[in-house]
Symmetry: C2
Subunit: 216 residues, 2 copies
């Protein structure tokens, strides 16, 4: 009982700071995407593909969250764009305060779109608004068609679902239509993309959509 | 600060109940495995394979945890063994009290080995002792070789790591030796198995080891 009360307080404070982040970033004309998924679904790989396509067309900033290591920041740093690694030291999600602190390390005058890569976790991060404009959940074809039903808050709170690793479909019993049906049962408004970050499939459509969002 | 204090209290209470579970189950001569992984790494599929091999040789009980749905219990129920589904309703891990309540629904006189399938999450469940004898973390070849480094508490607290989905190796850039090296950096005492739940590879060795554990 006490835990629930405290959680409410924590979440309320998180929402307040998220709102501050959102206002500050909007004021600078920056559009923000929060990327969420299970560990290993392909957040960083998709982000790399997006950066390859959009670098030079738009100024990109990246915040990456991990329980431990700066491996993801190293992968993004190759593209010479502004990148901040948050190491949560055990925490299972990013929160708006971590993002607020990370934003201070970015030259916001040279960013038009900010991607926040959350900790790999299909449960906890769904509760924490970071100040994003759009929430993207990535699930991979290897995870099982019923995941949207088993982890509903994540799919309910997302605006977009990317089904990644479609290159592996010939080797799996995965049914993409079943994933889509399950996800739309939880959230009929989900916009859905299918990608293979490894092969580059579907990334153009995703990038067109991102550019369209930014322009609006 | 307040959260951390409360967490300590919650974890202390969890550990106490876990110890009660452990004693109660040991008294009945029941050996307990806690299965942990990311969503979709293959916990239920591996469990099904184990049940197929060991049913008739040893009395098995299963507790399955999910944020939502009783899909996993339905999959296990096919084998007509005692199964209890815990739906956590949003909680990101099983705790010892949930397991304590679940155990009450099992006829312990007819169980020799109990498998507890945790919520799919590579972060939070690592903090919660359930009263198990052995903790098994499953990671799949599709998740990326660096996962043990990125989620160290899970691999540090486990006794066993199963690398699942080895049938997909020809289609991935996964390096199994790299996974093993990374995991052993975090926990040099990890016992490691390689399996394909889909093809049945490696399940015999795993089952032999399980039977050996139970007999001790």
């Amino acid at each position: 009982m006490k835990i629930i009360e405290l959680d409410k307080k924590v979440l309320k404070r998180n929402d307040e700071i998220a709102e501050e982040n959102r206002k500050a970033l909007k004021q600078k004309g920056i559009y923000v995407f929060n990327l969420l998924s299970s560990p290993g679904a392909g957040k960083t790989s998709i982000l790399e593909r997006i950066i390859q396509r959009l670098k030079g067309r738009v100024d990109i900033g990246v915040i990456v969250g991990d329980v431990q290591t700066d491996n993801d920041a190293k992968r993004i740093n190759k593209y010479k764009i502004q990148t901040v690694q948050i190491i949560t030291n055990g925490a299972c999600h990013l929160d708006s305060k971590m993002v607020k602190n990370a934003i201070k390390k970015i030259d916001l005058n040279n960013v038009k779109v900010l991607f926040i890569e959350n900790v790999g976790n299909l449960v906890c991060p769904s509760n924490f608004d970071l100040g994003e404009d759009v929430r993207i959940v990535i699930m991979s074809t290897t995870e099982g068609d019923d995941k949207p039903l088993k982890y509903p808050p994540m799919f309910y709170s997302a605006d977009v679902m990317i089904i990644n690793k479609i290159d592996l479909l010939p080797h799996l019993s995965c049914n993409v239509d079943e994933i889509k049906n399950n996800a739309l049962k939880i959230n009929p408004n989900l916009k859905i993309f299918e990608t293979s970050a490894v092969k580059g499939t579907g990334i153009d459509g995703l990038c067109d959509w991102i550019m369209d969002k930014i322009k609006k």
